[in-house]
């Protein structure tokens, strides 16, 4: 079974702190994604990566950065956390299957910024 793990289930941070969220997948997937999920809104893509050291902005990249130094690991960084970044953060990965990319998700990190 594909397994995607995220470093924390719950996180509480102060405004202005630098926050690191880590995601690891064990199925050698090429693609990895970071989303945030807020009530009443669909999953919104922050950043994605289709290869090591490659990254592309999603729909809402402002205030975030990412790092992919190894194929299995994709990190999301909040450079200076703000209260409007309080959310559920979901990491996902997928094979590059040529057009039917099913995504496999981690359990999510619920981040509260005070």
């Amino acid at each position: 079974d594909v397994k995607v793990t995220q470093s924390s289930r719950y996180l509480v941070k102060r405004t202005g702190e630098k926050v690191f969220l880590e995601c690891v997948q064990d199925m050698d997937h090429e693609n990895m994604f970071w989303y945030r999920q807020d009530p009443g809104l669909g999953l919104r893509l922050i950043y994605f990566s289709y290869d090591v050291k490659m990254k592309e902005k999603g729909d809402i990249p402002e205030g975030y950065s990412v790092s992919r130094e190894k194929k299995e690991r994709f990190s999301l960084i909040l450079e200076s956390a703000s209260t409007n970044q309080t959310s559920m953060y979901l990491c996902a990965s997928s094979w590059d299957s040529g057009g039917t990319e099913t995504q496999y998700f981690g359990p999510g990190t619920r981040l509260l910024v005070l």
Partner: protein, 112 residues
Amino acid sequence: SQKIEQNSEALNIQEGKTATLTCNYTNYSPAYLQWYRQDPGRGPVFLLLIRENEKEKRKERLKVTFDTTLKQSLFHITASQPADSATYLCALAKDSNYQLIWGAGTKLIIKP
């Protein structure tokens, strides 16, 4: 730009009945459409994928239809059970590779 609409109101269904959830999209017909299940506090889990040239797909008690004329997909759960209670998300392929566009999901409640 492409938008997905799923009923934001929770759907209450009696156990044993068929639950039907709707996913409408507004713009181009995607190459494929996917349905996921999400339980509270968890990540979504893939259920079914249907391609634009397929009218219907089945998996056990699940059935998905895809009507490109109506720009709509229907997701059916037959003989519903309380364990089917969850939020169901619809996602479709963006025009570029790798990315999906997501609906906000419909919460399904199956009453015993």
